[in-house]
Amino acid sequence: MSRYIATRAITGANMIVNEAETLLQKAIAEKGSETPVAFPNTAYYMPLILGLTGREVSTLGDLVPVLEQARSMLHPVPSKQRWTPYLGETLDSGIATLLAEESIEAVRFVQGHQPERFPGFELAGGTAYPALGSNGDGHLNGPIDDIQLRSWGIQLVDGRMPGFAAIVGCAKSNEVAVKIVRELQRRNILTFLCGNVNGRSIIHQLQEEGVEMGYDTYIVPFGTDTVSAIYALGFATRSALTFGGMKGGQSREILLYNRARVFAFVLALGEVDDLKYATAAGAISYGFPVIADTVIPQILPTGVTSYEHVISMPWNEIPGEDDMQKAERLVQKAIEVRGVKVQVADVPVPVPYGSAFEGEVVRRADMRVEFGGKNSRAFEYLRMVEMDEVEDGKIEVIGPDFDEAEAGGAMDVGIVIEVAGRKMQLDFEPVLERQVHYFINGASGIQHIGQRDIAWIRISKTAAEKGFTLRHFGDILHARFHADFGSIVDKVQVKIISDPELHADWLAQARIAFDYRNQRLADLTDDRVDEFYSCTLCQSFAPDHVCIVSPERLGLCGAYNWLDCKASFEINPTGPNQPITKGRAIDELKGYWEGTNQYAGQASHGSVQEVTMYSIMENPMTACGCFECIVMVVPEANGVMVVSREDPSMTPAGMTFSTLAGIAGGGLQSPGVMGVGKFYLTSPKFISADGGFKRVVWMSSFLKQSMPDEFTTVAAREGDPDLIDKIADETVCTDVEELLAHLERVGHPALMMDPMF
């Protein structure tokens, strides 16, 4: 801090705590202190208040002691002369500000003032408030829900999403606003928007320029006032609770966790007022530095934050030929200051490129051309060939480009990638091929869905206008395979085939390979390999958790199967995926081996002593927080239920996914609860020690719908073709009594099985 900042921040803190108290008193007088308060879809009450104070706020009345605590952390402003130290006092006032701001948003939810109304606004990626009318009727995002937090989890830990930026205020111009968020998007940095300067917010600026905002574009508009910045800090608090295994009230640990592991910064655009200084003081306690585009006092000593904590880059003084260059420098500096590790593969295409564009949707009306889908066929096929068969960087477009296709039309395209490398193996073909989806999706204005011979790609009119052609698929794939898999891939060439005859030939060839791979995968079972793989990718977030990935049990995030881990080990032999020699079998039914036990003990730093691969009842595998589903024993039904991350509804356990996740995550071993990847459900080894898939008595309908074919196969394997229909879901029941009645009615096999306990 400095005396000036301390003065402004402490003034702002006193003001906002007063305001919060007034608002709360008024709300209690009008609605009563028992009125429930909640943010949508979170198990963490008011998450920041829970994290920093341990208080589980669920009614207006619960906020009273929170504000008392906030008030106790306020201090007088420093004197003009003969001042006493103010750093600790300012940081306390910053925390008081955050407690007050979250309390204010809680009250606003009760009063219907949150999420903030914003006429004509449509969130890219959907809304958490269907009750407010259809998306597009005009409201901003409000707080991020637990589901979104978890689905971003794996990207945050594996570095695809290097951090988040909270932008507060209003940029110098609309063009600058767009450039700044594009620069952040290009680096896959999650961007939160809030605040205003004299009533005008960066959200207005981006809206005017037609920038899509929402979960899908990594640009999340919280609100047009500074108070809504609290959602960014609530998000940060929950990362520590969700992935760090921390409990509410562990304020010091939560703040230090954020300082060490969450790469976030605040970008203050335009004049900084008292409340912004006060909120920034709170953010600084989390270790998040502040970078302003105006003159403010710089505070460069480190310690509270890992690097400098307040940086001033007055806009006119940023070197650069024009505003666009200045914006670029500003973002670069922000990234430097937070020490955010960004790996950007330089991808030579005429449109912006980065994972932040992965979620972009190309609507039919905006579409120039599509490949695959209903009206055409597209496939992608990666194969390994001999070194001398590949000319690195050679990209051939065989057949016509899409300039001849009609606007909004469709055509057949095949993408054949040929790679060679001394460390390349046949088994890595599908691992690399699956990356095509992410790589192609990274281009702005291109949408990729599916894989293999059901790929479906759309190119937007904007992208086509900027000069995107078929050849650019090759450019993307060449650049990214080298950047991400350079240690196993030495040479890459790409054929993009639109010639109808060749297309048919190559498709037939690809299908032979796909069939071979399917068979290989079916043959790849736990008992046929000597090594499993560890995955400690999430230890940057969940320090005591370790995944053990076997051919028949993929990682709980769904992103890493055994082959992926094997390839990853080849790419980075000292990385997070290490081979674990199974060693002597202790109990093959439950899945105990000497090697796996020993590894689990060591990698969890002793917090786990033993782990079973196939049981939920005995020493189950731990979870970080990124799991796709939670499996939990329903003792009354002698079976288990499976809740998907996407399912916000109540479950027969009396808890929603978010609440259950608190029990399952954080590297804790809790018998009866387990976080898993959804494809593990279909594995013959799915809780095989406890009776296998037939134990599933309840399952989120989302899962049934998202992989019907796979479940049909499982039901046949289990010898009960109607099994899936016998499994209840949230449309059938959400409590145990009804569940039992349903199971009796359909004759679910779990009722006849041996008792689980």
Binding site: R3, P85, E89, S285, P297, L300, W315, P319
Partner: protein, 662 residues
């Protein structure tokens, strides 16, 4: 006989110079003038006089000469050194003992004038001393803590409890070297015994015992004194105060407390606010009752309650020379006998209060903790009665504002707030090189050198070189008088890196941490810095130096020894009591460095002190593989530009917000 020095040669303090001129005009002697007429005994000064038995005293001044018993120069110098340490440790620790008994009284005597003011500090003591706290009242805990504290003094075997606050590596080293004190009193007795005629006659072995004795001061007696004072009177946190003779009031009853203990002075402070006594003062024509301090009693009341300081050790006579002091109330240590004859020339009444301290001719009102308030009121009433006897006054119009009260608890809080307090930002600042290193500049005044000059010169140079200075005792008051204990001083005097850190925290570049027993706070800070990480894992790794450039008391020898044994490089100025033996000089310097990383050197040239300090800091930085100190990298943060900008009219300010076009 040497030439008498001018007032300007005797003191660097303008208030002192005024009073010394007055003394000269009045023909009154002071320590300053007596130092000119009383040359130090050259044999004793070098540590070569042995009077440990009555076959002597023996003076060994020639090469190869030995005492009557055959004691060598090395043995004699080492014994004298050890005895000084033991006396110093005894003084500090006995202060700690009295505090422990006061705590016991506070906990057990109904209606005691003392109570536990900082229960958190009590809990932290309880944790170290192994006293259970759950479900117990503050009084129960305090009573047990006091019992264990008292027992530390008489403990015969085992280890004193606070040793475990040191870095693990240091503890291990002490255990290996057999330095861990068994009990406080035992180590003092041990040194006195082994330095008796015909005992320990191997210099290194004698010095080892001195180290163990000194550690029983720093890591036991003094540390208990500090902790208990905080429990009873509050753990210091920053507050604004004033220092120098100008704090005495022309129209109020001036009571000066002098010595080292807070027990009585805190009560007198309370009594000065008593409406009945204020009324009484008013009835005697005084506008109020003004309490001021001298020496470390002053530091105790300054850092906790903001009671103004009339000055450091050499100001004791000068305060009386103002003619404005109604009562000088003294407790223990550093009280010159000269006060009494001097006070007889004025109306000032010197009141001794400690059962251990009587001075011929002074009024003795013996203090006991069970009647504390009553005694305090009696003293204040006497002072008020004396107001009418005041004659002409000469209060110099010189005083400086200051910010004091940096306990390690507060520093920890200041660097992260209530949720995230730590020493990390300090360690970071040192590691990066914004702060080049830390100097603990402590200790006394000594009339043989110009008062405060060395303190001032060194602190000025350290600040310029981005060295953070922490101070206690009379050195701290020297800096206070110079205006260094202010946030503003960082802007004016500190180098660019230190300035940035001070501006970020809002702290002065010189931190006042308390009285001379509070050097234990510095040990705690160093231990916490070591455990915070980034600066090695022991005190000896930290780029820090301890020094007492104007020391004079035996306590300073004890402090220097425990600081060195804790791993610090310690420099003592002014005089060299081991000068007589090259071997002892080598033992306490390279010998100690090789054994346990710290060392002690007596260096009388301030420039050499400065150079050695910076060299040691840079050498430690290099050993830690920290970047070389480079001031040109720093100084880019702060308020200056913003403060200019906010002065602009609104429209111009809006335009200037985005900076100047480049």
């Amino acid at each position: 006989m040497p030439r008498a020095r001018t007032p300007e040669e005797r003191s660097a303090d303008p208030a002192a110079i005024q009073m010394l001129k007055l003394a000269e005009e009045s023909g009154l002697s002071t320590a300053f003038s007596r130092a000119d007429t009383m040359s130090p005994c050259p044999i004793g000064a070098d540590g070569l006089c042995c009077k440990n038995c009555f076959m002597g005293p023996c003076r060994v001044v020639k090469e190869g000469q030995v005492g009557v018993c055959g004691a060598t120069v090395e043995t004699i110098v080492a014994r004298n050194f050890a005895r000084a340490v033991a006396a110093g440790a005894a003084a500090h620790s006995d202060h700690g003992r009295d505090m422990a008994f006061t705590l016991k009284a506070a906990a057990t005597v109904k209606g005691s004038d003392y109570k536990v003011r900082d229960p958190y500090k009590l809990y932290s003591m309880a944790e170290t001393l192994g006293v259970p706290v759950d479900g117990r009242s503050v009084e129960e805990i305090a009573s047990d803590v006091a019992d264990i504290a008292i027992a530390q003094f008489g403990q015969q075997t085992g280890e004193v409890a606070y040793i475990k606050r040191a870095p693990a590596k240091r503890q291990k080293l002490w255990r290996e070297l057999n330095y861990v004190p068994r009990g406080i009193d035992r180590e003092v007795v041990d040194v006195l015994h082994r330095t008796h005629m015909g005992d320990d006659q191997e210099p290194d072995h004698i010095l080892d015992a001195a180290i163990r004795c000194a550690l029983s001061d720093g890591w036991a007696g003094s540390m208990l004194a500090t902790d208990i004072s905080d429990v009873l009177f509050g753990t210091p946190s920053p507050l604004v105060g004033q220092a120098n003779l100008g704090v005495l009031k022309h129209d109020e009853v001036n009571i000066v407390v002098h010595g080292h203990e807070p027990t009585l002075s805190e009560m007198i402070l309370a009594a000065t606010g008593d409406p009945e006594l204020l009324e009484y003062a008013s009835s005697k024509g005084a506008k109020g009752i003004n309490l001021a301090g001298i020496c470390c009693t002053s530091n105790e009341t300054l850092v906790r309650q903001g009671v103004p300081s009339a000055g450091n050790f050499l100001h004791q006579e000068l305060a009386i020379l103002t003619g404005a002091v109604e009562a000088m109330v003294v407790d223990v240590q550093c009280i010159m006998q000269a006060l009494v004859p001097l006070s007889e020339k004025f109306h000032t009444e010197v009141i001794t209060t400690s059962p251990k301290v009587k001075i011929s001719g002074a009024t003795h009102i013996e203090f006991d903790e069970h009647h504390a308030m009553q005694i305090a009121r009696q003293i204040v009433r006497r002072a008020i009665d004396n107001f009418a006897n005041r004659g002409e006054t000469h209060i110099p119009d010189v005083s400086s504002d200051l910010v004091a009260g940096f306990s390690h608890e507060y520093v920890n809080y200041a660097l992260g707030g209530v949720l995230r307090g730590s020493f990390r930002p300090l360690n970071d600042a040192i590691a990066a090189g914004r702060i080049r290193g830390v100097v603990a500049n402590i200790g006394c005044n000594n009339p043989r050198v110009t008062q405060d000059w060395q303190h001032r010169y060194l602190v000025t140079e350290f600040l310029k070189n981005d060295v953070l200075v922490v101070q206690t005792g009379c050195g701290a008051i020297a800096s206070a008088k110079e205006g260094y204990l202010l946030g503003e001083a960082a802007l004016e005097y500190a180098g660019p890196g230190l300035r940035e850190v001070c501006e970020a925290v809002g702290m002065p570049p010189v931190l006042h941490m308390g009285s001379c027993v509070d050097n234990s706070r510095i040990l705690t800070v160093l231990s916490q810095m070591a455990s915070e990480g980034g600066l090695g894992d022991d005190i000896s790794d930290i780029p820090a130096v301890g020094m007492a450039p104007e020391w004079m008391s035996e306590k300073a020898m004890a402090i220097a020894t425990y600081a060195a044994a804790s791993g610090a490089y310690v420099i003592m100025g002014t005089t060299n009591p081991v000068k007589g033996s090259e071997e002892v000089s080598r033992l306490i310097s390279e010998g100690w460095r090789d054994k346990f990383g710290g060392r002690l050197e007596f260096i009388t040239d301030p420039d050499e002190i400065l150079q050695n300090t910076l060299a040691h800091i840079d050498e430690r930085r290099e050993a830690l593989k920290l970047p070389k100190y480079d001031a040109s990298k720093w100084g880019k943060s702060g308020d200056a530009r913003m403060l200019e900008l906010v002065e602009l009219p609104f429209a111009e300010r809006q335009a200037a917000l985005y900076g100047e076009m480049v």
